[in-house]
């Protein structure tokens, strides 16, 4: 099995065509009272076409904010976002985004929630629903197709959201803690499903997670963000583990553990630092 | 004559059809005089005389039964309106004071500082008081006017003692009189009363329309005049009981005797001939000019406000 390269990489090194290129991003929020808060500053992040990048970082460091900027939902205060080489203006039409917060349509049943992405793209409603049912099966929710979101458990809702995004088959996948409220086993099943899908047709993936093991098991590259405010990328690790992977098996490999230990220690310091900073009133 | 009307389907406007003021209209309608003349008249009832006039100017109705003074006012505003038959020769307006305040307000000149109810500010009941005040050396600024409407609420306000005096029409007045709540100061329902107030007639309700309408539809106008003329003739001989039989049951005020009393009181106000005498026109104008600066400035040709030729023809044909 190929040894994992454990040296931190520097941004901009990727040779593939760039699906996502964030350069010099600064994002500052202004409150109603005019008070300013800079969430991220000087972030350079490039995701190659077909590359799976996991983003890990302490809570509140700006991961969701970065995904929002990539999706075009947030205009950076400084820096540029380019999608497949073109500067992004308005919404990023090539991306699918699984939000961290609840984002299902409460007035649509599970199957309709999943089918809607196809329907608006012009697919015949009957077919869209058939394919949506198929997708609900893949996320283990066949029996819950007719339920409205408020009738589903937290983990079930998240999986409906997953199907909702994946069914559209976007070129770029933005996923914000997609497996957060799932138990370990379901997590693995979903992770393997995602990997299978990604293996079949390579997409650029930006995957936010708090589970470092999950990040290493899934990604080509793990990006570590520092603690906020004005957080930046403090390290990148290329994960050279062989593909295709099975999530539960890959954790047994020694290379996995070496990587895990190294990234872990880098991360730990950062979090403690962030915790201290936040504790002192800004 | 077997002539057919140019416009057999007509819309007529009136501001408060059940009022005794407009009784000739109800008589003409209920006795079938319009049908007799081959006319199909739709009666639109409005919230007030002003609204029916506006509808006429706007072209949504053809003719109006309304106050004669409208024809004068419209001339001042450059609108050509002409009346063709007089329906009421006296305004029928009565000025009363509350019984328990009759001591204080014995005559019109005592009204200084009183709160006087009128049907609506700026209406003929208001002008009537203005006129009386002026004759007695007071001005409208010496009293306070309150609009109380012409229905049950007017009776209510008087009974509650909200107002000291009131200028209103029947049946409000008769109701208050029969309940013994008021004392009359000036009464324009009777011949003597009018002599005292105006020194003669003062036309009230008339049938009026646009001058163009008369020009374009002379036969229709004639037939309409005929119908109203017949109603006036009928009223001349009818007893109040006859009237009560003809009008719809709802008009009876829920109290037949009260209605009969009201009709009896109002009977002298209906026109006998349908013709407005010259003096009547002058009286009307004189009253308006007194208080309306706009009219004071205008030059009014009274001859244009009334065209008596149709009534004369009607009087010849209808016996």
């Amino acid at each position: 099995m190929g040894g994992a390269s454990v040296a931190p990489l520097h941004a901009g090194e990727a040779r593939h065509s760039r699906a996502v290129a964030l350069s010099g991003i600064r994002i500052t929020f202004t409150g109603r009272g005019g008070e300013q808060f800079t969430a991220v500053e000087g972030v350079d992040l490039h995701v190659a076409d077909g590359e799976f990048v996991a983003i890990v970082g302490p809570t509140g460091c700006g991961k969701s904010t970065l995904l929002n900027a990539t999706a075009g939902l947030l205009v950076p205060s400084a820096g540029t976002v380019a999608i497949f080489g073109e500067p992004l203006s308005g919404l990023n039409r090539r991306a699918g985004y699984l939000f961290q917060a609840e984002a299902l349509f409460p007035w649509k049943s599970a199957v309709d929630n999943v089918a809607i992405g196809l329907e608006v793209a012009g697919t015949d409603p009957g077919e869209a629903r058939a394919r949506a049912r198929d997708w609900l099966g893949r996320v283990g929710l066949s029996a819950f197709a007719e339920r409205y979101p408020h009738q589903l458990s937290g983990g079930q809702r998240k999986r409906v959201g997953l199907a909702q995004v994946l069914i559209r088959d976007p070129k770029i996948l933005l996923m914000d803690e997609p497996f957060g409220p799932l138990d370990a086993q379901t997590r693995q099943i979903m992770g393997n499903m995602l990997l299978d899908l990604w293996n079949a047709e390579r997409k650029a993936v930006m995957f936010v997670t708090h589970d470092l093991e999950e990040a290493i098991a899934l990604a080509d590259r793990v990006v570590i963000m520092g603690a906020g405010p004005a957080s930046r990328i403090i390290g990148e690790w290329r994960i050279g583990l062989p593909r295709p992977r099975d999530i539960s098996e890959i954790r047994m490999e020694p290379a996995f553990h070496a990587l895990h230990r190294e990234i872990w220690s880098a991360l730990r310091d950062e979090v403690v630092k962030g915790y201290r900073q936040a504790e002192e009133p800004a | 004559t077997a002539q057919t009307a140019e416009k057999p389907k007509l819309t007529l406007g009136v501001g408060g059809k059940p009022l005794l003021y407009y009784l000739p209209l109800t008589i003409a309608e209920r006795n079938g005089y319009f049908k007799e003349q081959g006319l199909d008249v739709t009666i639109n009832d409005f919230g007030g005389g002003a609204k029916s006039l506006q509808a006429l100017i706007g072209g949504s109705i053809d003719v109006v039964t309304g106050a004669y003074e409208h024809t004068i006012r419209m001339q001042a505003k450059g609108q050509d309106i002409v009346s063709v038959i007089e329906l009421g020769r006296y305004p029928g307006i009565v000025l009363v004071v509350a019984k328990d305040k009759a001591e204080k307000y014995k005559a019109i000149k005592d009204l200084k500082g009183a709160k006087i109810g009128v049907t609506a500010p700026g209406s003929s009941t208001n002008f009537f008081v203005n006129f009386l005040l002026a004759k007695n050396g007071l001005s409208p600024e010496d009293v306070a006017f309150v609009g109380v409407g012409g229905g049950a609420s007017a009776v209510a306000q008087m009974k509650r003692g909200e107002i000291d005096a009131m200028s209103n029409l029947d049946p409000v007045i008769t109701k208050l009189q029969s309940d013994g709540d008021v004392v009359v100061l000036a009464d324009s329902r009777t011949v003597e009363g009018n002599e005292k107030i105006f020194g003669g007639q003062n036309p009230a309700a008339v049938l009026y329309m646009k001058t163009d309408f008369v020009k374009e539809n002379p036969i229709t106008t004639q037939k309409l005049t005929n119908a109203f003329y017949k109603a006036l003739q009928w009223l001349k001989t009818a007893t109040p009981e006859d009237v009560a039989k003809v009008v719809p049951e709802e008009y009876l005020l829920g109290d037949r005797t009260l209605y009969i009393a009201a009709v009896t009181a109002s009977k002298p106000t209906y026109s006998l001939t349908g013709i407005i005498p010259e003096s009547g026109m002058k009286n009307a104008l004189g009253m308006l000019v007194e208080f309306d600066p706009e009219l004071k400035a205008a030059k009014i040709d009274l001859a244009k406000t009334f065209d008596g030729s149709f009534v004369k023809k009607a009087a010849e044909t209808i016996k």
């Binding site: 984002a103 007035w107 809607i116 793209a121 | 059940p18």
Partner: protein, 268 residues
């Protein structure tokens, strides 16, 4: 069981109200208790009596004279409601989506909302004649604003995350309208429709009251001029009953369109 109890209580309220009315208008308070003279707490001259009102109403229906007037009024109400609500919904959506437009016209919309409709009646008669349309117009001016303000607010209240999700799923403005704004604004809209039904009727009746040849408002006006309080109350009774029927229809549609909401008690 629960339904029966509810109905019982509702009827009870009606019975109490009518009893108060009945005794207030038929039993005199003897002289010397409150005032010098004996008097009715609710003078039947102004309030009629319930018996008389029911008799009159029954007679009107029995002889059939009321149907024609009722038909006209209901037609006007329905038209005013449909046109006003449709207009309010459309313009509400439109303004909510075009911020600039909304900002520019905002003061004018509010001005228009404040104009006394009674004064506008002659202008409507001028433009639309004396038929049903001038009454419909009056009703529309009432319904429109109520629905408009609520729909406008409803669209702006859409959850930002759900909206972002919808846009990321590739929805165009048209799709957003149908799949997001519309269902989300439904609650607001129906809340306004409940008020609007009443106002549509008020508009129609007031229009008739101010000038017409038929309709319930016409009948009420006629009755008012001749102290026929019984007729006035009978007309209002008929109005009230019919608004309940129309409102029931609105509620049925509302329940149909909002099946997706959590019920207060979700489990048995």
């Amino acid at each position: 069981m629960k339904r029966a109890r509810l109905l019982f209580l509702q009827v009870l309220v009606a019975v109490v109200l009518i009893a108060v009315w009945h005794f207030g208008s038929t039993v005199k308070v003897p002289a010397g208790i409150v005032s010098q003279k004996a008097f009715y707490p609710l003078d039947p001259f102004f309030f009629s009596t319930p018996l008389a009102v029911f008799q009159r109403t029954w007679r009107d229906f029995y002889t059939g004279v009321i149907w024609y007037h009722l038909g006209i009024t209901l037609l006007e109400t329905a038209l005013a409601f449909v046109i006003g609500a449709a207009g309010g919904v459309l313009v509400g959506f439109w303004f909510a989506r075009k911020q600039m437009l909304a900002a520019v016209f905002d003061p004018y919309v509010k001005m228009a909302n404040a104009l006394p409709r009674v004064v506008l009646a002659p202008i409507f008669a001028l433009w639309l004649g004396l038929g049903i349309w001038s009454k419909v117009a009056l009703g529309v001016t009432l319904v429109f604003f109520i629905v408009f303000f609520n729909v406008y607010q409803g669209v702006k209240e859409v959850s930002p995350t759900v909206l972002a999700n919808a846009r990321m799923l590739g929805m165009s403005e048209r799709h957003l309208m149908r799949h997001v704004y519309w269902p989300s604004a439904l609650t607001w809209m129906f809340s306004s429709l409940h008020t609007a039904v009443g106002f549509a009727l008020v508009g129609a009746v007031v229009g008739e009251y101010l000038g017409s040849a038929a309709g319930l408002g016409y009948r009420i006006h006629q009755a008012e001029g001749v102290f026929d309080v019984t007729g006035v109350f009978s007309g209002m009774l008929v109005l009230a009953v019919f608004v309940i029927l129309i409102d029931a229809v609105v509620t049925a549609v509302e329940n149909r369109l909002t099946v997706w909401r959590p019920t207060a008690a979700g489990q048995s």
